[in-house]
Symmetry: C2
Subunit: 313 residues, 2 copies
C-alpha cells in the first residue's frame, strides 16, 4: 500500500485529536496549525493551539482537560502570583518549559516553524507540525463589552461574551510558513479538522495563498463537522455560528466550507442534514464523529481516509 | 535609641547572611548588591547574587545549599532538558518565577533596580535591595583554559580553574543605580560583607562613584573577613587570593580594603593576625565570624554594629 500524504488544517483540541488518530493509524500527517490564539504572558510566547497539537501527538496531553500536559504541577505559577503577576492563564511547570524554550529560540532569531519542528522532534512526534505562518496573526473578538484579545475572550472571560465579529490582526501581511502551501498542494488528502471555523480554521485559510491552495489542490478534501446535534463538541463554535447568523448545525458549517471541500463528514445524529448538504454540491459521509480517546480518534481518522479513497489496511 | 542607617556592600551568601542578621536585629539595611554574576539562560535574566540576598532576607532561602529557595521542585528544568535545552545551571520551579517575572519587566522597560524593589516588596523583605547598577556588568574570569563567563567558571566548571585575572566587562560605562551613592554617603555604618573580594566586592566598588563614595563617607566602615584560618567560608576566595599573589588570610583581605574601611572584623581563629592588620592603620575586632543560622547572623550583625559605635539594645 502506498501511504497517502495527509494534511490536516487544525486549531486546538479537535485538530489535535484527529491528527493523532491519523498518526495512530500509521500515517505521519502534516498538520497546519492556527496561531491566531498565540499570546504573550509573563514575557513568554505561548502558542496554545500548537501546543495542544504537540502534546496530543506526543501522547503527553491531559486527556481530561483537553489542553496542557498530564501530571502537571503549578509551583512556578503559584510563585508568579506571589510576585504580583496576573495569573489568570493557567501554566503548568512542564508546560512552561515549552514556552521558555520557544521564547528563547524565537528571541534568538529562529522562526516559529523551526522552533516548532525542534520541539516536535524533541518530544518524538510522528507528524510534521507547521504553524500556518511565522508572522504574527492575532485573533481579536468584538463583543458587546468591546474588542477583546483572543485569550482574554477565550480563557479569562471563559468565552461567555457574544461574538459580534472576529478579526485577524496582521493576517494581510502574514506569509505562509515554509512548507505550508506545499503541504496542501502535494497532499493526497486535505482534512479540515473538527475545529471552530471562525476561531481556528479561518485564521489558517486567511493566510496568503492557503485558501487558494485548498481550492486548487488535487487532493481529496474532507471536512469533519465540529457541530454535532446543534452543539459544539467543545468550546464556543455553536454560540458564534448563532450570533453571526449561521445555521447552528453541520449544514451551517458545510455552507462555510463550500468550494473548499469535497466531502463533509457529519455525525450519525445529523443524518437528517445529509440531503441539504448534498444540495450544496458536497458528498456527505455519516458516521460516529465523537473521538474521545485514542481508539476513537484512530477509528475516525481511518474512516476519513477511507472516505477520501485511501482506506488503510 | 536612634536606629543607625546601615548599608551593606554584598555579593551572594556572605552578604545575604549578614544583611539578614542586621534585619533580624531590627535594622532595615540598604544592601548594594553585585550584578557581575548576572547571566541569561533560556532567555531569562538571572541575577544570582540579588536573588540570594532577596531569598535570604525573605526567609525563603535554602539554608543547606546557601542558594535558591527552600522546598524547590524541578519539573520545568527536567522538561527543558527533554526539549533539548542545556540545563547545567540548576533552576527550581519557584526560582524560575523570579527569573520569568524579572525578565518580563526588564523587557517591558523597567530598570533592574525598580524590578528588584518590586520583588523585595512582594516577598515582604525588610531591607532596601539595590543592584549596584542598572547597566550590564559581566564578570569574566581568565583561566589557563581561557576566558570564561562568570557562571561558566563558577557553576558549570565548579570554580575549579585557576583564576589568572578578573575583568568586569561594561563596568566603565556603568552608572550606579538610583540610591546607591546616597546609601553609602548617608549611612552611619557601611559594611563590606564577608563576600569574595575579587568576584563580589570589587565589581560593586568598581561602578563609577562607589569606591569614591566609600572613601568619602562619614560612616564608620567595617569589613568582615571572608577568609577564616586561611580558608574561605564558601567559594573560591582562598584560591583566587593565592593565584593572584595575595596573602590567603584576613590580613591579605585587609590589605585589599586599606583606605576603604576603618575596622576589620576577623575570626577568633585569626587573632594572631591582628597586630599586622593594625599596622595597616585599621582597627581590628576579633570575634566569632561564622554565621551559620539566623541566631549566628544576628549575633555577628549586632557585633559589627557595636564595633561601629551603634550597639543595639
Amino acid at each position: 500500500m502506498v501511504v497517502p500524504r495527509v494534511t490536516v488544517l487544525a486549531g486546538g483540541v479537535g485538530g489535535a485529536r484527529l491528527a493523532h488518530g491519523i498518526a495512530l493509524a500509521g500515517v505521519s500527517p502534516d498538520v497546519v496549525v492556527n496561531v491566531g490564539d498565540d499570546t504573550e504572558l509573563h514575557g513568554l510566547w505561548i502558542s496554545p493551539d500548537l501546543d495542544t497539537v504537540l502534546y496530543t501527538l506526543a501522547g503527553l496531553n491531559d486527556e481530561e482537560r483537553g489542553w496542557g500536559l498530564r501530571g502537571e504541577t503549578y509551583a512556578t505559577l503559584t510563585q508568579l502570583a506571589a510576585l504580583g503577576e496576573d495569573t489568570w492563564f493557567t501554566l503548568g511547570d512542564k508546560d512552561l518549559a515549552t514556552h521558555i524554550a520557544r521564547t528563547a529560540r524565537l528571541r534568538a532569531g529562529a522562526p516559529l516553524s523551526e522552533v516548532t519542528a525542534q520541539l516536535a522532534a524533541a518530544l518524538g512526534v510522528n507528524a510534521r507540525l507547521l504553524p500556518v505562518t511565522d508572522d504574527r496573526v492575532a485573533t481579536l473578538v468584538d463583543t458587546p463589552s468591546g474588542r477583546l484579545a483572543f485569550q482574554e475572550y477565550f480563557v479569562r472571560r471563559r468565552h461567555a461574551d457574544a461574538v459580534l465579529s472576529v478579526e485577524f490582526e496582521g493576517i494581510d501581511a502574514a506569509r505562509p510558513a515554509p512548507g505550508v502551501l506545499d503541504a496542501v498542494a502535494d497532499a493526497d488528502v486535505v482534512i479540515i479538522a473538527p475545529s471552530n471555523p471562525f476561531l481556528s480554521v479561518f485564521p489558517v485559510l486567511g493566510v496568503a495563498g492557503v485558501r487558494e491552495a485548498v481550492r486548487a489542490t488535487a487532493a481529496r478534501r474532507v471536512a469533519v463537522s465540529p457541530i454535532v446535534g446543534g452543539q459544539a463538541i467543545k468550546g464556543p463554535a455553536a454560540q458564534i455560528l448563532e450570533t453571526l447568523g449561521h445555521d447552528v448545525s453541520a449544514l451551517g458549517v458545510a455552507r462555510l466550507y463550500t468550494g473548499l471541500v469535497d466531502v463533509m463528514v457529519v455525525d450519525d445524529t445529523d443524518v437528517a442534514l445529509a440531503p441539504a448538504i448534498r444540495d450544496l454540491g458536497l458528498e456527505v459521509v455519516v458516521t460516529d464523529t465523537i473521538m474521545g480517546g485514542p481508539a476513537g480518534r484512530e477509528r475516525l481518522a481511518r474512516q476519513v481516509l477511507a472516505v477520501a479513497g485511501h482506506a488503510l489496511p
